[in-house]
Each structure stands twice: as structure tokens, then as C-alpha cells.
Symmetry: C2
């Protein structure tokens, strides 16, 4: 019996990867007189992975890694004004208006009448709070958990904090690695809502199609009906 629904935020409730993608494009344009786009992309990703433990997820760490990569790829030739442009990319990302995915508002409205909703997201504390606040969705959530990573122990800690049994917990999100696999592992239900774009770091996994508590939907609108079906089958 599902009583509590955890929902990811970036690329589940609102568009996020499209904003990163557009910044990546501008970044590659900026460095195009030094290197081809593939080299820029690969080197930036390598820097991000090397710095992940120190910087964590989010726009600020991404920006620090972008500056580091630009200095490295231009052998120190990049100008201060070009670095200023990278800082401006960051500010534009942080100020970017929140654009909800199709069906999100209505679905949360429906679900919140019957279940306890918790938003569970990674990233920078203040940035995620800003987006939640701007989204107009805050009213639907009983709790908001901004976490530094999404592992089995992260979910274990959240469930124990709110005294939720894993069998009563369903998590919906666009990352198999962060939203689905760890939740299935601790005994919860996982609903995968693929987003057209996925950051390389989030996509090593294949859907666990044969897992009995794994579901995949095309649109969040289908979630209330799926849960009703699950409850009937109980």
C-alpha cells in the first residue's frame, strides 16, 4: 500500500537539462577557436567528474569546472573577459525561469489530495529552493529534501526521518541511477519517467524491466492511475 510519494525535481517537475544543454552550446562556441566541440565536451565532463567529490552537483560546481576546463584547454590563453562570459552563463542559469513539464501541476494537485508528497532533489541548496518556490508547486509537498546525493542510504535516512516503511513508498523521477535503482534496492516502488535528455553521469543504467516494483510511464499524468491500480492489486 502506497502512502507516500517521493518526486524528483529537475527534469521530472521542471526542465533543467535543456538549460545545461544550451549553456554547453554557448560554452563550446566560446572555445571554438581553440578546440572542436567534442574535445570541449569530453574535457569538461572529465573535469566535472574529477571535481564531483569536492564540488557536488549544481550550477556553481559546474561553473567552477567550466572555468578550470577553459583555462586548461586554452593553455592559459583565455582572456579574463571570456571567463567573465562564463560567470554570466552561470548567473543566467541561476536566474532562468522555472518551466514546468506537461501535466505536472494537475497531477500533483490530484496526488496531494490522497498521498503525502515529498520532493527529493540533488543540487545547490539555494537554487533548488528558489525553483521550488517559483514553481508554484510548494503547496503540494509535505516535505522538501535537498540532498547531496541519492543513494540507498539517502533514501533510508529520509524514510526513517518521516517514519515511512519502504513498502509504503513510491519514488518517481527521470534518473534510473538516482531515483529508481536505490529505491527498488531498499524495498520501495520506482516509477521511471524518462526525459528526452539525460546528463552522461546519470545514464549508466538500463531499466530493471523485470523487477516487480519497477514501472515506466511516458507522462506524469499517468501516475495517479498507476498507483490506483497498484492499490487495487494489493
Amino acid at each position: 500500500m502506497i502512502t507516500t510519494i517521493g518526486i524528483d525535481a529537475d527534469d521530472t517537475l521542471w526542465h533543467n537539462e535543456t538549460i545545461f544543454e544550451s549553456t554547453h552550446q554557448k560554452y563550446k562556441d566560446l572555445l571554438s577557436r581553440y578546440h572542436d566541440p567534442e574535445t570541449v565536451e569530453e574535457t569538461l565532463y572529465a573535469t566535472e567528474m574529477r571535481n564531483l567529490e569536492l564540488f557536488g552537483y549544481g550550477i556553481k560546481g559546474f561553473t567552477l569546472s567550466s572555468i578550470e576546463t577553459a583555462i586548461q584547454l586554452t593553455k592559459g590563453e583565455i582572456s579574463a573577459d571570456e571567463i567573465k562570459t562564463i560567470l554570466d552563463f552561470a548567473k543566467n542559469m541561476l536566474k532562468h525561469p522555472v518551466e514546468l513539464l506537461d501535466g505536472v501541476s494537475e497531477t500533483l494537485h490530484t496526488l496531494s489530495a490522497q498521498y503525502e508528497l515529498i520532493v527529493i532533489t540533488k543540487g545547490d541548496l539555494r537554487d533548488q529552493e528558489r525553483k521550488l518556490s517559483q514553481s508554484g508547486l510548494k503547496q503540494y509537498f509535505k516535505h522538501c529534501e535537498i540532498v547531496s546525493d541519492k543513494t540507498t542510504s539517502t533514501y533510508g535516512r529520509i524514510l526513517s526521518r518521516y517514519k515511512i516503511a519502504p513498502e509504503n513508498f513510491l519514488m518517481a523521477g527521470n534518473s534510473l541511477k538516482s531515483d529508481i535503482i536505490p529505491v527498488l534496492e531498499i524495498g520501495g516502488t520506482g516509477v521511471y519517467l524518462p526525459y528526452p535528455l539525460t546528463w552522461a553521469h546519470e545514464k549508466p543504467n538500463l531499466p530493471p524491466e523485470n523487477h516487480k516494483r519497477f514501472y515506466q510511464l511516458e507522462n506524469i499524468r499517468e501516475l495517479p492511475e498507476l498507483i490506483t491500480t497498484l492499490l487495487k492489486a494489493d
Copy 2:
């Protein structure tokens, strides 16, 4: 009757401002051929305040503001290698070993036997988690709250999450603005533990010396005895 003790982390449990201070010094040295130290300090602070809403607290936002300030103060003359040096300052801060303040371990050991302890701190999510984990103090805390700001509503949310009445809550920390004033305002008890250095942004307030639930101690070691006295007086 006090049942729960909230404790700030940076400059209450471990040294933090000294690390920023030493980075400020290196930063002023780096820019010394362009400007005098006072101008560098003032301009950096102005940039930090302007960016605070977007970047929040913590080393990553501080570093982005440092880079922006360096470009501004040198009119774009600063070299990529010098900016690389600022990035290295950031990494060194993020890797800096945790140095506990005098008396912290023993005091938390004593307090945790009798009260529920919660660490309540601002800053970058991952960085604060790393410090708590390295500090060896995690075992003493029932909960850990890393927040984007410390206002009356922040404390209100935490107390309501853990079902704590304000009159049962005491907060100890080195910032009057963040740790003491808002807690007194919601009806809790505030224990001010001054640290020799305070970031400009945290020091607009004077101690509310006549407030009946305000206390000031010189060392965290004195906290258990103060609480015992308060309980006897109840």
C-alpha cells in the same frame, strides 16, 4: 525545560573563518600589484553581497565572487593562470582538514547523553556533510540540518518537523544574527559563543543582553552546567 539543543557548526564546532581569512590574505597578495588590500577587501565584500541571493553561502559562491571581483578590479588584465590560482584556493579550502574548537568533543559527549542534539548550519550541502563526517562528531547528533539561511521561519520549520516546542529548544552558536536573534524571536533560548573572528555579514547585531532567554559563554564547555542551572530554575 530544555530537551533539544541546536548547535551551529562553522566557528562553533570547528574553525572556519580562519580558513576564509587566510584565503582572503592570499587573494589580496595575488591582486596586490593592482590594488591596495582595503580596496580588494571592500570590493570583494560588495560582490559577495550582490551575489548572495543567487549564490548563497559557502565556498563555491565565495570563489565565483572572488573571480568576478578579480576581473573587475584588474579591468580584465588578470591572467588565466592567476584565475587558476583562485580556483586552487577554493579546492584547498574544500579539502582543508576539520579542526575542532577546544572542548567540543567532550561537551557533545556529555550533552548527547541527556539531550537530543541537532546540528544546524548554513553553507554548501556537500562541504558541510564532509566536515561533519570528518569531524568525528556525527555520532552525537540525532539530526543534521544544512539550510540556505537561518531565519525565524527556518527555525520554525525545523522545530515543527521534529515536533519540538520552542520553550524546549536551545540554540548555541557564534552568530548573533543567525543563531541567537531568530531563536529568541520564536520563543527559544539562545546561547552565544563568540568566536574571535566574524565575517562582516554576520555582525550587525549587538548582544540582546537584557533578554531573559539570552546567555553568553566563553567556551562550549560551560554549556552543560548552564543548562543544568536553567532546568533547576524551571
